[in-house]
Amino acid sequence: MKHAQIACLTGCVVALIAVLAVTPGSWTYYRFKTDRYDYASEAEALGASVKLFGATMAGFYMTGGNPEGLNSFPANPLVKRRVFMDLNGLLMSKQIFVMDRDTRELRDLVFLSPVHAVVVTDENWFFAYQDAETRRPLSTKKFSKLTIRYYMKKKWGKWIVMDYDVFDREDTLPPLLKEKILQW
């Protein structure tokens, strides 16, 4: 009976070793699930990425689509495509969309895995249209109180924005679809 117990235990130990060897990032996930993850420094890195995202996007719009800064823009290719599709549309109508951030406050930050996180911020922005050539204002300044939910993933050591949802400050945020986010 003792030998049987040792045989079963051996099978379980070998399974554990196999799981650690086979699963990518297994040790990192284990540390994350057992609260040994460095939340503080990752939260700081997330905040810096979100700040860079907003600033770079505002820069693209202010310059009418100057791609300088595209490499450091922490965004998914689909997000970049959406931004530049919009910029092309504005250029074709000879307009520039000026974005100016007033305030940003972190509302919530949730880590779903060591490489997936959701950041919710309350941001106040000013928006205005200008003529692309003369910079003459084409509209009044619009003040927007927004709540933005950023879906972040850590790729190649840095956090990038996979997608984001924009809400009015009065909107109730829908629940997170964790399974969908973890598949990114």
Binding site: A7, C12, L16, V22, K33
Partner: protein, 348 residues
């Protein structure tokens, strides 16, 4: 009487069998526990990986060796059935890794699924090493939804469909969420329900630029989902209320417009919210140079499609294992077993 060196070999194979039998479930549980990964896969797919497949193969070899070495020595039929059942279960799991096919499809009322790989929901299609897509088609008819309570049987979601497998004639089937439908080796089951509004993007002169159904997770009422259009940078966030949003003012407009708004739309272009408010059916919301309206709403269901002959074998093995346990532990069998030649009792 068994000779000592043969007994050692038998013991070795029994212990090896126990080790391999412990490895497989331990590996599966550790992989899906979420402790070492983001837990986005199922137990069956985990058991199709190389390590458990090798362990299953070695398990079969060890059990076969045990049977061969103890042939004629042990008179316990139940032990033989148990071992045969376990071999069949392991063989079923190995076969499953080769032949399993699973995926999810979304069917909107009136739409047809033709069976191509592109029609399966992204990242849900899984094919074993030698599996092929089943050649079947489904034309969705009416979708029904009813609330299921804890104590009710049936109810839930269902879709009636015209089903055709290969070249066989078309027949009507009903696929439900309460229990699966089996047909031609396929197991079909409704797993989700929602609404598909038909949106229309129109230009400045009201010419139709794009029109399509979009399956959204806007059920139950108040749930929000979003969609985009490839040709536009905008994102449309939508909520759907089948019984309407009570504005208190009733019918605002004339012909072609429903009495109560049924949608709540938030339209954004990057950080800018261009529109936020209730929308009626057929009402055109203009934004910049385009307009959007919702012309119709249909229901959709997400179906789970599974075909796995390996699991059929696995359950056959489970049945044989159950028979062996019934034989072993039936009244009178225990004392009869104790009177037989000593071979090791409960070991594999």
């Amino acid at each position: 009487m068994v000779r000592p060196d043969r007994e050692s070999i038998i013991k070795f194979f029994r212990l090896a069998t126990l080790s391999f039998a412990s490895f497989v479930p331990a590996y599966g549980v550790l992989r899906i526990s979420g402790l070492f990964t983001a837990q986005t896969t199922t137990l069956i797919r985990v058991l199709h990986e190389l390590s458990p497949q090798i362990a299953l193969l070695l398990f079969i070899v060890a059990v076969v060796c045990s049977i061969a070495l103890e042939w004629g020595v042990s008179a316990e039929k139940s032990l033989l059935y148990l071992r045969m059942g376990l071999i069949i279960m392991a063989a079923g799991l190995i076969l499953s890794s080769f032949v399993r096919m699973e995926g999810k499809i979304i069917l909107t009322e009136g739409q047809t699924f033709s069976g191509t790989a592109a029609e399966y929901v992204d990242s849900t299609l899984y094919l074993g090493k030698m599996a092929r897509l089943p050649r079947f088609s489904l034309e969705a008819g009416a979708v029904s939804h009813s609330e299921r309570t804890e104590f009710s049987f049936g109810g839930g979601d269902a879709v009636s469909a015209s089903y055709r497998y290969g070249e066989s004639p078309v027949r009507q089937i009903a696929v439900r969420s309460a229990f699966p439908t089996f047909s031609d080796g396929l197991r079909l089951k409704v797993v989700r329900f929602g609404y598909s509004p038909r949106y229309r993007i129109s230009g400045q002169d009201n010419e139709v630029l794009e029109e399509s159904f979009v399956s959204l997770g806007v059920f139950p009422p108040g749930n929000e989902d979003s969609f985009g259009v490839l040709s536009l940078p905008h994102v449309f966030y939508l909520r759907y209320y089948p019984s309407g949003i009570d504005e208190g003012s009733g019918n605002k407009d004339g012909a072609g417009v429903a009495s109560k708004p049924q949608f709540f739309l938030r339209l954004t272009r990057n950080y800018d919210i261009l529109f936020r408010g209730p929308v009626r059916l057929h009402e055109v919301i203009r934004f910049e140079r385009e307009g959007i309206s919702f012309e119709e709403v249909r229901k959709w269901v997400e179906l789970s499609v599974v075909r796995d002959y390996g699991m059929t074998l696995f359950f056959a093995g489970c049945f044989l294992v159950s028979i062996s346990l019934v034989i072993r532990y039936r009244p009178g069998e225990k004392s009869a077993a104790a009177n037989r030649a000593p071979t090791g009792g409960h070991q594999l």
